[in-house]
Subunit: 195 residues, 2 copies
DNA sequence: CTGTTCTCTTACCGTTCGGTAAGTTGCCCT
DNA sequence: AGGGCAACTTACCGAACGGTAAGAGAACAG
């Protein structure tokens, strides 16, 4: 099996940063190429089109999200669920780029099924919820709807960072961060145990 | 005072739809002009640049959000708070375009302070929370952080509609909608009373 | 009847975009 | 030594973009 060249993954990483910051339409191949220190034809050589490069970025994002779930190893299902949600909140705060990519993928999911790479993440999350004793009896739709509000709140807040800082200043924004994290922590624990 | 021509507002409305669907960079003046049935120079005549048109769209959005709050007239503060949040959830579900605009504004808030038009909305919301007896003692940052998770969950879900339908089909999506609305309703009532 | 202003048009311009064509370079395999 | 392939480069292209310039046509004022 051919090993993938390291540069290919490097390009995907640079592209992910740009797409997260400026969106699909706001990102030009030339800009990504300049970040990576190559000509834009280097990108076209690997990915053919800009749309395909974007698809690869989303696919890698999907893998990362699933890996984030599987990295949490607690024995009791409700503990794993809580650990996954806590980890998601922590990561979204520390590296908001992925949250931005997810939200952009949601917004831009037109006829083409751009957001499908997120399905495995949502499915595992749903399964995780239903594995917890407190949520055993609910059907898939209810479990997904229930976690979705947590995931949504986490990512929405993560994505709002620069805007909140612009509106209220760095100081107030830090206070917001603290309050939000504390509040969310309680919420997650309550959710996993359905308190 | 010169009355504003009706066409100006018409253009803003058409532009809002496009910007909501495709984002700032994904929307061309020509496309908005075609929707409105005029040449793109008609738009440039009124707004000068695309960025200024976008700013007007966001400004009108800010006015709409504030009006949505002020339309709710309950006597007891906690009832008003609950009514406002319920109305926001209802509107976000019925007309997701505004939620899309808000989220896009959050994502695209670069150096230029594009999202500032949202400040009045957030400020009134914060004041509303602190007016409720259950939240009287908290400071502004805590109150904002607390509502923000509800607003975030509402808008995130509203924005996810097409994607969820793409992933799971119209049937499952409708079930998700129902569960989410029910869940959120309880959450809002609990929030207003801090149960 | 004339001048002005407001709304909108046709014509055009320079830049940037995504993408194509055709090499060039360096490494690996025989 | 040399053929072949992977990983790029420079050069170029047509289309679409945001924006400018100039003027047409209606409405209204004096």
């Amino acid at each position: 099996m051919s090993e993938r060249p390291a540069s290919r993954d490097r390009y995907i990483a640079f592209a992910a940063r740009r797409f997260a910051a400026d969106g699909f339409h706001g990102t030009s191949l030339a800009a990504v190429a300049e970040d990576a220190g190559v000509s834009k034809q280097a990108l076209l050589h690997f990915f053919g089109t800009k749309a395909r490069l974007y698809a690869e970025v989303l696919s890698a994002l999907g893998d990362r999200l699933v890996a984030e779930i599987e990295a949490q190893r607690a024995d009791a299902p409700q503990d794993r669920l809580a650990a996954v949600l806590h980890a998601h909140a922590r990561n979204a705060h520390a590296r908001p780029e992925d949250a931005r990519l997810v939200v952009r993928a949601l917004l831009d999911s037109d006829a083409s099924a751009r957001a499908w790479p997120l399905k495995p993440f949502l499915d595992r999350l749903t399964a995780l919820v239903r594995a917890a004793p407190a949520w055993e009896k609910v059907d898939e739709a209810e479990a997904l709807a229930a976690v979705y509000r947590l995931i949504g709140a986490i990512q929405y807040f993560a994505v709002s960072g620069p805007t909140l800082e612009g509106i209220y200043g760095a100081e107030r924004r830090a206070a917001l961060d603290r309050h939000f994290a504390a509040h969310l922590g309680d919420l997650i624990d309550g959710f996993a145990a359905r308190g």
